[in-house]
Symmetry: C2
Subunit: 206 residues, 2 copies
DNA sequence: CGGAGGTAAGTGAATGGTCACTTACTTCTC
DNA sequence: GAGAAGTAAGTGACCATTCACTTACCTCCG
């Protein structure tokens, strides 16, 4: 689907991207300046430009990382035929919430700030990532719906959006009120409830 | 709960805040500069400082507007005894989605950008708004749970967060792929489904 | 009535700070 | 000795904020 025009990063590029991601985790894209990146890596601002042509290119590199962390894994889960649709949906939502907790709400920070970016390349990249994510969910939901006879349920795209909403809301709260205990409960009790409430799979037909 | 230390705005202050809100709707908080505000209002940058002591104070004024648009109305809905808990929850989620559509995802933009702000006053204000919003939802959910015997359902705070997730996800998609038709469907088919899936109210007990 | 004094609201031109980015020069390694 | 990787010291653009000053209006007093 998305063509991987091989990043083929040098080790130094990878290091720069990782340090930059660290900055984003701490304070969002707005917090990322060439000066701060250089500080983290341990060299001067000018050195950045030996490895990336512009800051824009560097930020676009972050989007590749986001795709690797968020979209690629859920694509893999969605294609895992050994699991039921419901199990796969649950695994996807769980993957997303785990990522949110490990990466300090990184996905929604990148998303929110890229969505108001003046840079059309960044905006387009974000659109594509978001679209791919929702497509995977929507495809799975459709698959689940096809196994059942339920027709009056909400449309697949609405349900897919709802499945995105759970980790999104968790991410927002995690930013403002991090609370590992509450987040554990969210993972263990809410996600199964959410997925089963979709009314997709057999077991409720009787 | 939240003490309204009366803003008591002059007409000019209100005008400035409205124009600033316009800028936020277009490109987020990062897009707001004193120059752009002045352009919108039709005077010079310096004139802003006749009406607000600092830009920070102006931005905090935006948070008051957000509270008026988002938190106050849902508080009113939550206290409306003529509706069932389920009807009230549905009305709240619907109010939020309507606001998101009318204001171009304003709430989540303010939230995301304030959550990474270096300004502790702004961060604190955002925390308080977010907390109040979730408290209203959580209180209602608890009220609904008390009417039933269901105990194994997810905890009230998890369900409240889920109810926030729906408009949040809609807001994100609205930013990247605005689609009035899809958003109508979301409002008309997903919200009722979501609220009824909470398993709060009678009618399902049999 | 008329002018003196006060004030709210505006202006143009600066201020110092930060931003992304560039240039000319060095240093290290194969 | 050449190219990759680094540096110090800039560049102009933009940022929030301040400054001295003007304008229009109000009020009060003889």
């Amino acid at each position: 689907m998305t063509i991987r025009t091989g990043p083929a990063r040098t080790p130094r590029q990878v290091q720069i991207l990782e340090k930059t991601l660290e900055l984003v985790r701490e304070g969002g894209l707005a917090h990322v300046t060439t000066k701060r990146i250089a500080e983290r890596v341990g060299f001067t601002e000018a050195a950045i430009y030996r490895h990336f042509p512009t800051k824009q290119a560097l930020i676009l590199g972050l989007m590749d990382l986001l795709e690797d962390m968020l979209v690629e894994p859920i694509r893999a889960i969605a294609g895992d035929g050994s699991l039921s649709v419901r199990q796969r949906l649950e695994a996807i939502v769980r993957h997303h919430t785990t990522l949110v907790r490990e990466q300090n709400s990184l996905p929604i920070l990148l998303l929110a700030e890229a969505s108001v970016s003046e840079d059309p390349a960044l905006l387009g990249r974000m659109r594509s990532i978001f679209h791919d994510y929702l497509s995977v969910l929507e495809g799975l939901v459709r698959e689940g719906q096809a196994q059942d006879e339920i027709v009056q349920a909400p449309e697949a795209d609405c349900l897919a959006l709802l499945l995105l909403g759970a980790p999104a809301a968790l991410a927002i709260r995690h930013r403002l009120f991090p609370d590992a205990r509450a987040e554990d409960r969210f993972e263990h009790s809410l996600i199964p409830h959410l997925v089963s409430s979709l009314d997709l799979n057999p077991g409720r037909k009787a």
